[in-house]
């Protein structure tokens, strides 16, 4: 797992969720990240990394690690 990417994604998510730290595998729903925030995270990530994450893959986003995996996958396809 790309640690630099992970750190950056962590910052993006922390900013949106307004919490200091995002643990690797703590479920987003337990961090108070709702569906609107999830879409916001996706929009930000798409914008920064110039990738496209289809709507139907939104449900794959459940915790920090899953976001990193998804973005790595899309970056590899790009």
């Amino acid at each position: 797992m790309n640690q630099e990417l992970k750190q950056k994604l962590k910052e993006i998510i922390a900013e949106i969720a307004e919490i200091e730290d995002i643990p690797d595998d703590k479920p987003f729903k337990d961090l108070g990240i709702d569906s609107m925030m999830a879409i916001e995270i996706i929009t930000d990530v798409e914008r920064i990394y110039k990738i496209k994450i289809p709507e139907e893959e939104l449900e794959r986003i459940v915790d920090l690690n899953s976001v990193v995996v998804l973005v790595e996958e899309k970056l590899a396809q790009a």
Partner: protein, 413 residues
Amino acid sequence: MTRVYVTGLGVVSSLGFGRENFFRSILESKSGLSPIESFDTEKLGRSIGGEVKGFKPRDFLTAAESRRMGRCSAYAVAASRMAVEDAKLFPQQLQSERVSVIVGTTMGEGDVITELEQAWIHKGVDAVETAKLPRYGTTLLPIHIARALGARGMVQTLPAACAAGNYAISFAADLIRAGRADVVITGASEILQQLQFAGFVRLGAMAPERCQPFDKNRKGMIIGEGAGILVIESEKHALKRDAKLLAEVAGCGLACDAHHITRPHPEGTGSLYAMTQAILSSGIKPEEVDFINAHGTGTHSNDKIESYIIHQIFGDRKVPVSSLKSMLGHCMGAASALEAVACVMTVETGIYTPTLGYETPDPECDINLVADKPVEGKAEIVLNNSLAFGGYDATVTFAKPGRLPEWRPSTLQ
């Protein structure tokens, strides 16, 4: 307190212009949804909308009018002219301080602001055309209508998101009941426009091809545009000029969820309250309601919660329900105004409007949906329901003239 009647209807919609064309298309179960032509949808991943095609402003507006207003106002003025013609109101009856204009919208002249900003963003501030600036402003909608008709009473825009039409109609009726106007031109207007379209797509709320309210496999909404305008007037004014009474504007219910900016309250508290108020403030009981023109956007959460509310109020009695959004798309601010026009025509004709795309019943939406084809039935009391962005809930009751009791309580507390 005076009764308030609808005496004229005007429509600009993807299903036709004028109330007869509009209602005929609905009864023929036609869809107004089509590929969007007015802006580029290529990057958006969605391309279908309830777009009004073939609207020529000059068919309805003078040259001076079409120069000074944007498309949203043009729809509104066109529909207003049709409505006063339908009401058989003469210019001298309209040129009065006792005639007001109260209309709703969400974005108003979104096209104008986009065009101005595009010039600024791409070519710099000097490229912004000064002459076009005064065309922007949500304030202008009722001003343009008032000028076109000669009305000189209150002019007001009530932008209550996707409940704007119902908000405007209920406030307009309030104004007449309070003795502050004899006639009000009311309703709402909305245009399809790229920023709004992109926003709804990004929210993940938009279906790819069809809007299937209350269906188990519904995929979201499709947005549309248009204008629905009603002429409403006091009983005294209407009777004095021997106007045809199409329907009575009875009680209304308004509430705010105070829960979330885009999602309805999970138990629909505000909407439940609004619908209950609309019934009780009409002086009737839930069992007297004959038909509900639902908000029915085709999104998972709206349809589920709306069904729950209907069930809460009507229990096991299966009151017929329908959603026009399957044909018109969600016309946002104008949605409940266009639906109000259909409600009035349901009261007039005794025909329940159909819902398209209903294939698989959803146990979470356990309602009596009027699917596919129109159905004839008792339509003395009809509810027009809406739930909107910001948790705005509004329900308006329309009734057959003479059907409602004389005395009406105000509202429950």
